[in-house]
């Protein structure tokens, strides 16, 4: 059952076609990894999906609804949550209040219910004990978990993860991958995760991989197949992926 459909999307910055005629579909509960080197158009694609940018050509459909012209906050209310590459907490608010914001606006809960949902999300990612601390005092790894909790509290159908593994230790990555998989399986949340490095995490995580290069999709399929595609190996990895 299709959740998200991206059709022939083009985004130009001046003369640069940052995303160049990209089409793909995503099912409910599906985990998609978008792989590509720096500058390949991954983040632009994510920004097009959640509405930070509007495409110059093409359309984006969420649950069959054309969302191409909707601003980000309206797409968020339809069920898209995003975790940023560099965590974007509200540093002067408490950890709990950060997550309450997600439950209130992304999730559309009322104030009392939002608090309960937020506390539950914090328990889920293991930050409940820090709920009264200011978000600005958390470690980098904890901020990642906070981003996930905030996204989770928004009761999303689609989770957009912007290179969330970057800057973590291998142990932290393993824990995060487990958590994201658990979220997907238990709650049927679909996810699109951008990956630049850390192929090991990708292989564990994704049902399907899309490889981007210079704004175009150059390979698509299950992780082993897509990442070992000769074209991908040639233009991106340089040598076979182990």
């Amino acid at each position: 059952m299709t959740l998200l459909k991206v059709e022939h999307v083009v985004k130009k910055f001046g003369g640069l076609r940052a995303v160049d005629d990209v089409s793909f579909a995503l099912d409910r509960g599906e985990f998609l990894a978008v792989v590509g080197p720096n500058g390949s158009g991954k983040t632009t694609l994510l920004n097009l999906i959640n509405g930070v940018y509007k495409p110059d050509e093409g359309g984006i459909f969420f649950e069959g609804v054309d969302v191409t012209e909707l601003p980000p906050y309206k797409r968020a209310r339809l069920g898209m949550s995003r975790a940023f590459q560099v965590p974007r907490p509200f540093p002067e608010s408490t950890v709990l209040d950060n997550v309450v914001v997600g439950a209130l606006f992304n999730g559309g809960y009322d104030l009392r219910r939002a608090r309960e949902v937020a506390e539950e999300a914090l328990r889920y990612v293991g930050l409940y004990d820090k709920r009264h601390e200011l978000a600005g005092r958390l470690t980098f790894n904890e901020l990642r978990l906070l981003e996930l909790a905030r996204a989770l509290a928004g009761n999303p159908k689609l989770l957009l993860l912007d290179e969330v593994m970057a800057g973590l230790t291998p142990g932290e990555i393993d824990a995060l991958v487990q958590l994201i998989r658990k979220m997907a399986e238990e709650r049927g949340i679909a996810a699109i995760s951008l990956v630049e490095h850390r192929m090991r995490a990708v292989a564990q995580l994704a049902h399907r991989v899309i490889v981007m290069h210079q704004g175009k999709i150059i390979a698509e399929g299950p992780p082993e197949k897509a990442l070992n595609d000769p074209k991908v190996v040639e233009v991106y990895l340089g040598r076979p992926w182990r």
Binding site: Y73, S81, N106, G108
Partner: protein, 321 residues
């Protein structure tokens, strides 16, 4: 958050104005800065946007009362609530128009876009000779006629002071209602990271506009109370005096932006510091208060109440919002 301490202070000052009418003008002068800081805080403190056209809201309030008293004779005592209502409505309407256009801009761009509002309106009134033009509206005879001499004099002293304090107390209530609702969470998110807030599903313009119109309405009430009722006159040079927004922000920063008790503390310090300097070194008030604000902002960026709150246990913090 528990709003009882700041509300209690406004009520106590109101009682003092009635009990000792000879001090009501002094109380009004201090309370003007408190209430101005309180109203400015609802917009500038909660959104961290700066509006250089803000003083126009004070002017709209003052002109509301002025216009009703001058052009609608025969209303009697009803002229006061009708005039205030008109002034508040004009302030809110102006905020809606300016906000709907300019609040889509970010930070500094918003500040620049609003610079012209205050001066533009002043020159419109003076140049086109609207509402008394440059000569302004003298309200004393109309107030004597409509209210009777004794009542008019009472209104211009104790009445005006009570109204100014009422505006301050109302701002505390508004702040409380905003902070304990969805809007409070939305504004906290927007002022810390507007882009992240949008992605989470918040419509920033909507909540900025809410804060802007609330703040403007309170300033309209304040302008009506202080200039029209208190001074019995509305002069464009007075009511569009652009320094009032600097005063309001100074009071807010001294006490602590986005705190509720802050503007009360800031207003007290700001008024008495200016008064003291005025006696010792007349004419240097602006210079010295600028230094004072500079020092506070550098050394205590959270202001006095904001800094105090950092060191209070959570239970006590509730009581000092």
């Amino acid at each position: 958050m528990k709003p009882y301490i700041p509300l209690g202070i406004y009520l106590a000052l109101m009682a003092a104005a009635f009990a000792a009418p000879e001090y009501s003008k002094l109380i009004a002068s201090v309370a003007f800065f408190m209430a101005l800081g309180q109203a400015v805080n609802i917009f500038v403190g909660l959104t961290r946007y700066v509006d250089f056209g803000y003083v126009a809201f004070l002017a709209m309030g003052a002109y509301g009362v002025g216009v009703v008293l001058t052009y609608l004779p025969g209303l009697g005592l009803a002229a006061l609530p009708v005039g205030i209502a008109l002034g508040v409505a004009m302030a809110a309407a102006l905020a809606a128009v300016v906000g709907a256009i300019a609040l889509r801009l970010r930070g500094a761009y918003f500040a620049i876009a609003t610079i012209g509002v205050n001066e533009g309106l002043k020159h419109l009134i003076v140049g086109a000779n609207i509402w008394g033009g440059g000569a302004g509206l003298i309200l004393s005879s109309a107030m004597f006629r409509e209210f009777g001499r004794e009542t008019a004099l009472f209104l211009s002293t104790v009445g005006s002071t009570a109204l100014i304090l009422f505006a301050g107390a109302l701002a505390v209530v508004a702040m409380y209602l905003i902070q304990s609702s969805r809007a409070g969470y939305a504004l906290a998110a927007v002022r810390q990271d507007e882009d992240a807030a949008k992605v989470i599903g918040i419509n920033p313009t909507k909540y900025k506009l809410l804060a802007f119109m609330t703040s403007a309405s309170l300033s309209g009430l304040l302008g009506a109370s202080y200039f029209a009722v208190g001074n019995m006159q509305v002069f464009p040079e007075n009511v569009f005096f652009i320094e009032y927004i600097l005063d309001g922000m100074a009071v807010m920063f001294l006490g602590g932006a986005a705190t509720v008790t802050g503007p009360i503390v800031g207003g007290l310090i700001y008024y008495f510091a200016r008064d003291l300097v005025g006696q010792v070194w007349p004419g240097a008030q602006a210079l010295v208060t600028a230094l004072l604000v500079f020092i506070i902002v550098v050394l205590l960026p959270r202001g006095i109440v904001g800094t105090l709150r950092l060191y209070l246990p959570p239970k006590a913090r509730e009581w000092l919002p």
